[in-house]
Subunit: 116 residues, 2 copies
DNA sequence: CCTGGACTCCACCGCACGGTTGTACAGTTC
DNA sequence: GAACTGTACAACCGTGCGGTGGAGTCCAGG
């Protein structure tokens, strides 16, 4: 962990990193990953969990799959998806940590008495 | 660290997380953060470092500022920006770690002899 | 005051992307 | 084989966003 990164990030690496972030910058895909965090699931189950159209879910799963974040496997007539890169949850936790810190900072600016 | 997240992520939190990822899903903004990782800098310096137009840099800095990732401070006639949320580097490191794992997996699929 | 420089804001354009619809492709069952 | 289900693909549309150009704001100096 905590690998050393070169100071001027190479241009290509910048693109790769941004691409990966952009994949996660979509609520629907976050919801899909959140559901898959519980257990592997078929497209049907994911469609029900997100209350979206089947085509839309399939499209977003394709993006996640191309990014290597989920793995697909046929199961009879169904297709079962599962998390392929658990680091996405680490990312979400870090983001939530940053959000918490922002909220605390805002609270301290408003004064200690804050539950608005 | 490693705070516990609720299983079905609340819808609003999903939006917040996705928003934050989307801010990072842009090469130019990654470049700006990468430059600020070295030291605080003025818009001028950032413009030179990224080889972009001054308006474009200012616009992206505005996005980063609204997201609470950078802080601005007037310095005479200049405006100096600096990192406000160091967790962004943690995020980048995690992403790079995932990329490394993908590269290794790809390499092992192609066979041990791989430098293309 | 006016001038000039640093920066931000606004209006516009073009493209990429999310969503929908329709269709094609497995795989199972009969 | 035909029929049905589950999933992926392709074409289209609308919007959001990155980039640019120009005007506006703030600050220092003369």
């Amino acid at each position: 962990m905590a690998l050393r990164l070169p100071q001027p990030l190479p241009a290509e690496l910048v693109e790769l990193v941004a691409d990966r972030f952009r994949v996660l910058g979509e609520p629907m895909r976050i919801r899909l990953l959140d559901r898959l965090r519980q257990s592997p699931a078929t497209v049907q189950e994911l469609t029900e969990a997100t209350a979206a159209s089947q085509q839309n879910v399939s499209k977003h799963l394709g993006v996640l799959h191309r990014a290597g974040m989920v793995a697909r496997a046929r199961d009879g007539n169904f297709v079962r998806y599962e998390i392929a890169d658990p680091s996405v949850f680490e990312l979400c936790e870090t983001v939530c940590g940053g959000l918490h810190r922002q909220a605390d900072a805002l609270r301290s600016v408003l004064g200690q008495n804050a539950t608005a």
